[in-house]
Symmetry: C2
Subunit: 758 residues, 2 copies
């Protein structure tokens, strides 16, 4: 492979609209809910209202009597393998371990019939004592898994670029993992510190809140145990493994067709897929399940509530001497590993010789948690960056300058001890410093303030393949196995267009299935763009070589005298010697004894990741009478290495900023009584566009050593610092320190009252 000279770039690095915008706007994008199959049965789950219960019996009579009902499936009908994770959990049999757990699945000719039958299903529950919160989990009186937590073959955390937790055999306990990461002597450092800051911080569990609920359709195949799964997923190969694993099928018999994804944010890795596939195989008919919003919020895998108790120590000169954190993660009924990534970031944002981070992963009778954009990090950095803000106040230091002085750079250790590669955290701080919002922060009206926080994400990376073809009409087809949840394919198109000298509109993405797709990583862990780019570049560079060879033969010219531009191959300096690349492809495709169709496959595997960092400024006004916070402005300076498509990169940063502010101000799962009390978008509040201030994205471009074209990960960093920056802005505007997210006007008002009462 020879890499073309792309220094003078025509398409890469320039903003360009997203390629699937039109089909989404006009309603032609194929979602699972649009999927019709002959003989389709509609499914409706029956969910447990109890967080912990024994099922004494289920009477199907009334449900089966509803006209159009095909069957009422119970666990004993479907379960074939022991469950060990939410995706492998089909239907409860004797025991329910969380409120929202499916106990039956109704199949009927219409959705309405299935819903009617679900309402009539008579389940006899015996309610049991439940582990409803972290305190109950730690007390251990009741155990979620008295026989020990079901073992995962390979946890879910690895999917998201986080550090997988080591698994240690222990007595049955609700503390699934208890790990301590660190270096140095924290106790001594704290004892000797000139200044300390910290406190206890809590972030509520939140839901990913994608617009499209989980939706799956499955169709039995010809072979016994063969099934095709149409799904809304961030990773079709993961769904294949999950379904095959849960049902004991061969992977090759599970065909996954990824359809348009209406939002993922870490949650779309096949939660309902095995259940729907099992139902279709059982019914020998296609089955489709589209969760309602309430079902979705009750039965899927949200982000955990996380408590962080933190203490920082600093020397008189401001040097950070100690980071001491105790983190409790409320994982729900199954294991999930947030500890490693939380430690990575808590102990890896600032240079510090003494670090101790204890992470405890707790089991509760609550819906098992899953990944949500930068899992655990916004929660952990809310604590760290709030404490840093307080520390700098004690030090009398400028919070930006202090961070700039102490921020990690290449070679400094992460919280796990491994060194960072080249990163741009300081560059982000410098960009924030130069911004008018920071420069003018002292000149604001009363009750207004600007808060600063930093964040980041190490990011995953994986090998990938891609196939590139040129059709006889000049269309370039890029065949990929990745799914597009945030515009990745719009950037891949630019790479091919740049390499082949065609307009990006001439490039068509072909979405592969698990059968047809060249392997690509999940669209999660911020990895897909940096992982796939190399394969696309490899494939399109080979196609470029093929086209130049064809053109050299066509013009009887030397390859070095040729170039590809404007969809044509031409002889440099002789404008009328040009031939469209489609014609070259047609010649190759038709010539007896010729080279054959213009097509090439590319493969690539990065050697290391390309972490992304962010500095976030949030400007608020706090109403002095009510405590209500008005968001005035958000400025996020993020190091993206090189923005393949700046428009989409800015969009990702804006989206992450909005989610971070929602996390701070509005969102929170309410598990009062062990059952989710607000499983809908009326009672669970999301920010809307009217809640949002202008969201500015500053693209810092410090090229990564490893990422293609210098690109870094983009997706996860933007959510990591915003909530902390918001809290620091409130501190600045209103003089109070919020320690719980989300915070209400009442909470701010009470803090102010308490303060003025001092």
């Amino acid at each position: 492979m020879t890499t073309p000279e792309l220094s003078a770039r025509t398409h890469l690095g320039r903003p360009r609209k997203i390629i699937d915008g039109l089909e989404k706007l006009v309603g032609r994008a194929p979602y699972v809910a649009d999927q019709w199959l002959p003989g389709l049965l509609h499914a409706r789950p029956v969910l447990s209202p109890y967080p912990h219960a024994r099922i004494r019996g289920i009477d199907r009579t009334a449900a089966l009597a509803v006209p159009g009902v095909h069957s009422v499936l119970l666990g004993a009908d479907l379960n074939v393998k022991p469950m060990h994770s939410r995706p492998s959990l089909l239907l409860a049999e004797d025991l329910v371990v969380f409120a929202g757990q499916p106990v039956a699945l109704i199949l009927a000719d219409t959705e309405a019939q299935a819903a009617d039958a679900a309402a009539l299903l008579d389940v006899d529950y015996e309610a049991l004592d439940a582990v409803e919160d972290a305190e109950a989990a730690l007390a251990g009186g009741t155990l979620v898994w008295p026989q020990g937590v079901p073992k995962a073959d390979g946890g879910m955390a690895g999917l998201h670029g986080g550090e997988a937790g080591a698994q240690v055999a222990r007595e049955p306990s609700n503390v699934d993992e208890d790990r301590t990461f660190g270096r140095g002597d924290v106790d001594a450092a704290l004892a000797g510190a000139a200044f300390t800051a910290g406190g206890s911080f809590r972030v509520a569990g939140v839901h990913q809140g994608y617009l499209e609920p989980h939706a799956v359709a499955a169709q039995p195949g010809a072979r016994p145990g063969e099934v095709t799964v149409y799904t809304s997923t961030q990773g079709q190969y993961v769904v294949r493994s999950e379904v095959a694993g849960a049902l004991g099928l061969r992977e090759r018999d599970v065909h996954v067709v990824p359809l348009t994804v209406g939002g993922g944010f870490g949650a779309k890795y096949g939660i309902m897929d095995a259940l729907v596939a099992a139902a279709a195989l059982h019914a020998r008919q296609p089955v489709r399940l589209v969760l309602t919003r309430s079902e979705d919020m009750l039965t899927t895998m949200p982000a955990p509530a996380i408590d962080v108790t933190l203490r920082l120590g600093a020397a008189a000169d401001g040097t950070l001497t100690a980071v001491d954190a105790d983190v409790r993660i409320e994982n729900g009924a199954f294991r999930f590993g947030h500890g490693g990534i939380i430690a990575t970031m808590l102990g890896g944002l600032y240079r510090c010789e003494n670090v101790r981070i204890r992470t405890r992963e707790l089991l509760l009778n609550r819906a098992p948690v899953g990944a949500y954009r930068a899992p655990g990090v916004p929660q952990a950095l809310f604590a760290l960056e709030s404490a840093v803000d307080d520390l700098t106040r004690q030090l009398g230091a400028d919070p930006l300058e202090w961070r700039l002085r102490h921020a990690v750079q290449a070679g400094d250790p992460m919280g796990t001890g491994r060194p960072w590669p080249d990163i741009g955290l300081r560059d982000c701080l410098e960009a924030a410093r130069a911004h008018p919002l920071w420069q003018g922060r002292r000149d604001l009206p009363a009750h207004e303030g600007v808060g600063l926080a930093v964040g980041g994400w190490p990011g995953a990376f994986s090998p990938a393949g891609a196939v590139c073809r040129v059709d006889t009409d000049g269309t370039v087809r890029l065949h990929v196995g990745s799914v597009d949840i945030s515009g990745v394919h719009s950037s891949m198109v630019l790479i091919a267009a740049e390499t082949l000298g065609v307009d990006p509109d001439q490039v068509e993405i072909v979405q592969g299935t698990t059968d047809s797709g060249p392997y690509a990583p999940n669209s999660g862990g911020s990895q897909v763009t940096i992982s796939l780019s190399g394969a696309v570049l490899d494939a399109s560079t080979q196609v470029r070589d093929q086209l130049l060879d064809l053109a050299a033969r066509h013009f009887e010219a030397h390859r070095d005298d040729l170039e590809l531009t404007g969809g044509q191959a031409l002889v440099r300096g002789i404008p009328d010697r040009a031939i469209p690349i489609g014609k070259l492809a047609a010649q190759a495709q038709r010539a007896p004894g010729g080279p054959g169709p213009v097509v090439a496959e590319g493969r690539a595997a990065l050697k290391a990741g390309a972490p992304g960092f962010i500095a976030h400024l949030v400007h608020v006004r706090v109403d002095p009478d009510t405590g209500a916070v008005t968001l005035r402005r958000s400025v996020a300076a993020q190091d993206v290495g090189f923005a393949l498509n700046p428009l989409l990169v800015e969009g990702q940063i804006q989206g992450g900023s909005a989610q971070a502010l929602g996390l701070g101000l509005l969102e929170g799962l309410d598990y009062a009584g062990g059952t989710l009390a607000n499983p809908n978008f009326l009672e669970y509040a999301f920010p809307t566009s009217t809640d949002m201030p202008p969201l500015e994205a500053l693209l810092v471009q410090r090229p990564s050593e490893h990422g293609p074209f210098g690109a870094r990960i983009v997706g996860e960093p933007p959510i990591t610092a915003g909530a902390a920056a918001l809290a620091n802005a409130v501190r600045e505007a209103a003089g109070v320190r919020v320690t719980e997210l989300p915070f209400t006007p009442e909470a701010v008002w009470r803090l102010r009252q308490a303060q003025s009462g001092d």
Copy 2:
């Protein structure tokens, strides 16, 4: 690319079951009629009952009043480009040029509603004089196209491996083409011949008679003019071109998804696809049309009726000195080029210095003809091989020995003058000679006889691509753009299995669409196996190299010490040093900085074709009282070069033999009065299994210079000689020469009566 040593073959060349047998048996193979789409409208065409008529007006009122009817589409609603061929013909506007031509299309919620409305559509026709038969066509009083025949951009004949006819501007005429092929001085040769034989022969038009009628579903896309076409086709890329061409769309906006084909035989190249696509774009909803059997036989493209007047001359020593033929081809309302291929074979089966073949392609007011397995050749060889049989009788020569002496071989000219490459016609005759049926032909009971005829087909070939991948579970995926109408993919699987040392059950074919598929030629013209094999071999050989490299690294061994066998890579002679190829793929797919997923694309383009020849023996009994012919046995010796999968090759030969005998005994389109009188399977008789004798296939394997592994074309030769052999068997058994196909017992009886009356 290094070619693996495949001399000791494990899978190639051994009989193995067809890979899609199970899904067809259990009803899971996806046919167009199974295709459901949201908002699907069902279409029903209204066909003209008149062969030639002016449409005075169409009143849609009654049809539109049928409940559930969405629209009644007329030509003015849909037609955007001038039509020049059957596939580009949407709906008639002012003029109807054949009985069966669509004049309207009803769209309704159900098929029944559409059919009701079609029956109620009030079309006011003014019947016009029609060109009903060849005599009328040649008389020229009425012209099918008084303004000249609509021009094709590129005729249909090229699709099928035939010689495309040169197009000459002429006065409007029903004689669309009048070509003469030849060499030497035929008149002088005939004048000086010691023996002559010949006569006038006629073969009725026949229908391809696939089990699945033409069926198309189309769904509008997001972009204006974008449409996805689900179709039963032999060539998805042809359908794409036809639809784009007829509707004036960009090729890249037409997405063709080929579904299971329920029989093609040359007829499935998108006859209804443009109409259905236009209807879907007009309705902005998906539309599906599944023709009824009668509609299908009335409106699609059958094989032409062909008349051949032939005279052969021979010297006293038996040398063939003259072939003089006058061929009339009844093409129907549009042009189609059978002349070149007929001349190729009529003048290219025996060595002869003086050849003159005139071919006239006639236009009639009749459904335009299309390709049917070896288009034109069974008809032409019925004439030639009957005349040869008579000539050898005059010469007192053994018909097999005479053929063996005069049959063409490499370097001898075809009827068009081009030389044959290496061919196996003589080998086939030798195989037939050795067969007990031929050896025992003198020892049969009275009224029985064995007839011999030979045939063949030059065959097409085209470049092709393929992609091969290894999944982490060891499944080998072979991604191809070809469609499978006769088992081609079952043979491709063997090539990959052989190359990679896996069981063929471990190889999965991935059917590409026009978007995803690596380019492959049509499954027609007998070309797909020989054209695609090279690409599959190239791709799987590259994958083999990748696996060996991975294994060499894994075992720290030299590549030369490794082999792939039983789905594993192993170190030769050390049985416990083995690793499944899926594990190697997983290593490659997961290793940071590694080679990436195991995947490769292959490309290939043959330099020349690999013609296939056949010698066919048919054994009959003719009832002396009724003239009824009973088929006793059929033995077809065909040179297949190398049978990649002998089971499927034998199946192709048996199928072609059956069709040849049906052509001889039963099938015939009845155009009495200009309108097809037998458009159904009650009145148009096909042979059934009870009509068929044992069909024996002798595989002659004379390796082709060009075909992969020495393979030759297989699909078309088996139909080319059977009808002539049948006629020669009747001559042998009953002493009479039939000159019309199909022939009835009455016809044979009358011939016998006429003879005994002599």
